[in-house]
């Protein structure tokens, strides 16, 4: 069980993956586990995450995320695999979450912003 949310073990449905020194997580599945919602805009190759009253827009292949109109730099550019958009786990730190991660063992512990 690699995910913990607020200290509680959470079932997300896809394990985090370590790739090129970056820990990647599934955007939609983890976003939903955190209480958010995700959308996919195919013509623009854009994934949208609605979480904690924030609107996060990510473009496949672009290392810059749009968070409520503000540009945020990501560790790596999101990609699509197995029908899921993968993003660096540190994106959630940008959104105010406290992150404790063990990349070697693929463990992700996220605590919601206060």
């Amino acid at each position: 069980m690699p995910y913990m949310i607020g200290g509680e073990i959470a079932e997300v449905g896809a394990e985090p993956r370590l790739q090129d020194g970056i820990l990647w997580v599934p955007l939609r599945k983890l976003g939903q586990a955190l209480g958010g919602n995700a959308d996919w805009i195919a013509p623009n190759q854009v994934a949208v995450l609605y979480l904690n009253d924030q609107i996060i827009t990510l473009t496949i292949g672009d290392k810059t995320a749009d968070v409520d109109g503000e540009r945020r730099e990501l560790q790596g550019a999101p990609f699509v695999e197995d029908g899921e958009t993968w993003v660096p786990v540190r994106l959630f730190e940008t959104l105010g979450y406290t992150l404790e991660a063990d990349p070697q063992n693929g463990i992700v512990d996220l605590t919601a912003p206060v």
């Binding site: 959308d39 623009n44 609107i55 473009t59 409520d68």
Partner: protein
């Protein structure tokens, strides 16, 4: 005012003196009474002077009341004009605010990567606290995104999302 009082008093006193000096039938019994004494004349004059003074005073009060009424009317008129101007200024400020909000929402929509290439019309109506979105988008996801962006940038406003979803 001083002169009026003076003449009134003089006239009044004169009438009293003449009346009392003659042998008038004061008690209407058909017989003339003896001329009034000095004290009686003096008292009558004093009374008349007092009445005259009161009459003059009443006239003065009437003038003062009239002046006060005029002053109140002018004051109310000025107040009404001031309120009218203030309301007009407020309406102009509100129109400016809605224009600014429309621009802000439109800019946020244009800048979002998920809505690039979409022509979305934004209209803000302050009198109904409503933001309307009109135009065409490719998917429900884009319609949701535009609506969410509008809502984020127009706190307290109702979003009337009339975007049509269809092939572009």
């Amino acid at each position: 005012m001083k002169n009026l009082r003076k003449w009134g008093a003089t006239l009044g006193a004169g009438v009293v003196i003449l009346g009392l000096a003659g042998c008038a039938d004061r008690n209407n019994n058909g017989q003339a009474e003896s001329p009034a004494t000095g004290n009686e004349v003096g008292n009558a004059v004093a009374d008349n002077l007092g009445d005259t003074a009161n009459a003059v005073k009443n006239v003065g009060n009437g003038i003062a009341n009239g002046a006060g009424a005029v002053a109140n009317t002018v004051s109310n008129g000025v107040g009404a004009m001031s309120n009218g101007l203030s309301n007009a200024a407020g309406t102009m400020a509100s129109a400016g605010e809605t224009a600014a909000m429309t621009s802000k929402i439109k800019a946020a929509i244009i800048a979002n990567p998920g809505l690039k290439g979409r022509n979305i019309n934004v209209n803000t109506m302050a009198n109904t606290n409503t933001v309307s979105l009109k135009g065409s988008v490719a998917s429900a996801a884009q319609k949701n995104l535009a609506g969410s962006i509008a809502k984020k940038n127009a706190p307290g406003y109702k979003i009337n999302n009339q975007l049509k979803v269809g092939a572009m």
